[in-house]
């Protein structure tokens, strides 16, 4: 089989295929350059700060907001927009840095309201992040007070500490090696607290599952509450805490009965005729653990 070009010259089809294949990397490379966001869609700003900064982010675009730390006294914000539909404004007032991402007009193409943000901050930084669209908030190794609100996106925290408030409607929270005090509320989002060093935790979700897998610090207070979901705690045999689990119409699955003794402080918990409850102490009962669910399951386990 032969292909005939307009010039009337005939060449073997196999040879034509070979030439196209050989040229394809060049063609593809050229295509990728053409399809990459134009330079103006990428924004990068540097803000020098003199002391512990406060970074506020108001993000109406969808996409990921990632915050990491470094040793420098400087905040760097990189925005990578898919289209110029996303407007990005930044301002600095001393050590307060504000980032606002807004959607300029109604979307004409799917995905053009997306923008990813990479933010680098000093290790000790306070954060205030509000996202009203889809997209994950990811924060790693930042030490400071944080208020994080997301309507539909997930929140991932890794090695952060401070007084942390996380509020979502549909997004879940994954919290790995978090320290300090944390307050989480959600409608359908769940939360996992893995290897935490939290001295205070209040986690509440209407339908999401809540998992606490880690140590309970002495004098710590931990409250996990889910309307319909699973509430599970996994503790170690060195932990010391008072436990109170209560459910209205759900079940309590106590897989650590051997470790749970009558309340060591002699505190009489009045049982309610409207709820099923379980109380007891592990070791000296130094921390306080309150678990509740309306119609879900409470599971108490000791880690292997």
């Amino acid at each position: 089989m032969r292909s005939k070009l307009n010039s009337g010259i005939t060449i073997p089809a196999a040879w034509l295929s070979f030439c196209l294949l050989a040229a394809s990397p060049v063609l593809l490379a050229g295509q990728s350059v053409d399809q990459a966001p134009a330079p103006s869609l990428r924004v990068e700003r540097h803000f020098t700060v003199s002391h512990r900064p406060v970074v506020t982010i108001q993000n109406a675009a969808s996409g990921r907001v990632e915050v990491k730390s470094w040793k420098n006294a400087e905040v760097v914000i990189k925005a990578n927009r898919v289209s110029d539909r996303v407007g990005v404004e930044m301002e600095q007032a001393d050590s307060r840095i504000a980032l606002t991402a807004s959607l300029a007009e109604k979307s004409s193409r799917p995905g053009d309201g997306e923008s990813n943000f990479e933010i680098t901050v000093p290790e000790e930084t306070d954060l205030e992040i509000h996202t009203t669209n889809m997209g994950t908030i990811y924060i790693e190794q930042v030490y400071g007070d944080m208020t994080l609100e997301s309507r539909a996106g997930d929140v991932h925290l890794k090695e952060v500490s401070g007084y942390i408030i996380v509020k979502t409607l549909g997004g879940s929270l994954l919290c790995t090696q978090c320290a300090g005090k944390l307050n989480f509320t959600s409608v359908s989002g769940g939360a996992q607290f893995l290897q935490p060093q939290l001295s205070s935790l209040s986690a509440s979700s209407t339908s999401g599952n809540l998992l606490y897998d880690g140590d309970f610090l002495r004098t710590g207070i931990y409250t996990l509450k889910s309307g319909m979901g699973l509430v599970e705690v996994r503790f170690s045999d060195s932990d010391s805490f008072d436990l109170r689990a209560i459910t209205t119409t759900g079940t309590v699955d106590n897989q650590a009965a051997a470790f749970l003794k009558p309340d060591s402080h002699g505190l009489k918990h009045l049982s309610s005729k409207f709820a099923h409850s379980l109380t007891g102490s592990v070791n000296a009962g130094l921390a306080q653990v309150n678990l509740s669910t309306f119609s879900g399951t409470i599971r108490i386990r000791k880690r292997d």
Partner: protein, 209 residues
Amino acid sequence: MKCTELERFVEQEGLDLLGNAQQEHLAECAACQALVADFAALTSAARALPAEVDPPPQIWLALRAQLEAEKIIRTSSDLASSSWSDSLAGFFRLHALQFGFAAAVLVAAALVGWPPEQHPVPAATPYAETAAVLTREVAHVQTLAKTAASPVSQSLRANLQVVDNFIATCERRVQQEPQDEVAHEYLTGAYQQKAEILAAMMDTQAGEN
């Protein structure tokens, strides 16, 4: 004039009415000069404060549910109680524009006992008025939502469904066991979440439409 007299005068009359006697004492007394300077600074700072503080929209609804739970306000739909629901409905509709102002007005009205014709009476059905207002607002939001098909709108609708299901479960429980305080607590929290979702839906749709 003594220092205590000047202090009392400043407390009662303020700084604008200082007379000759006070001025003469001030000219000679460093302690009172410092006191007057502090008062002046406080007055200046107070004047710089915003005249209104806008509470979030869900505060009013939570307050409303709590008042119903404590039987401080009635929930029957007859008599003048419709003014409450109309106010709440109006509040939600104003949300997209000026919900802060509306909330401030409503909260203030609740605190001073408005509307005056209402007196505490036992609740016929727990949270009936709150539920009715929210139901009407859901219909309003869903009308707006016809053109909103973004992923975040879908997520909000899914969450609204979750909360509605939970409210229904809690309501059944409260009707079966009116003394179950834990069920009341869950139900109040669910109403508050529903208000938050509706506010988020309005906000999202305002951006999309």
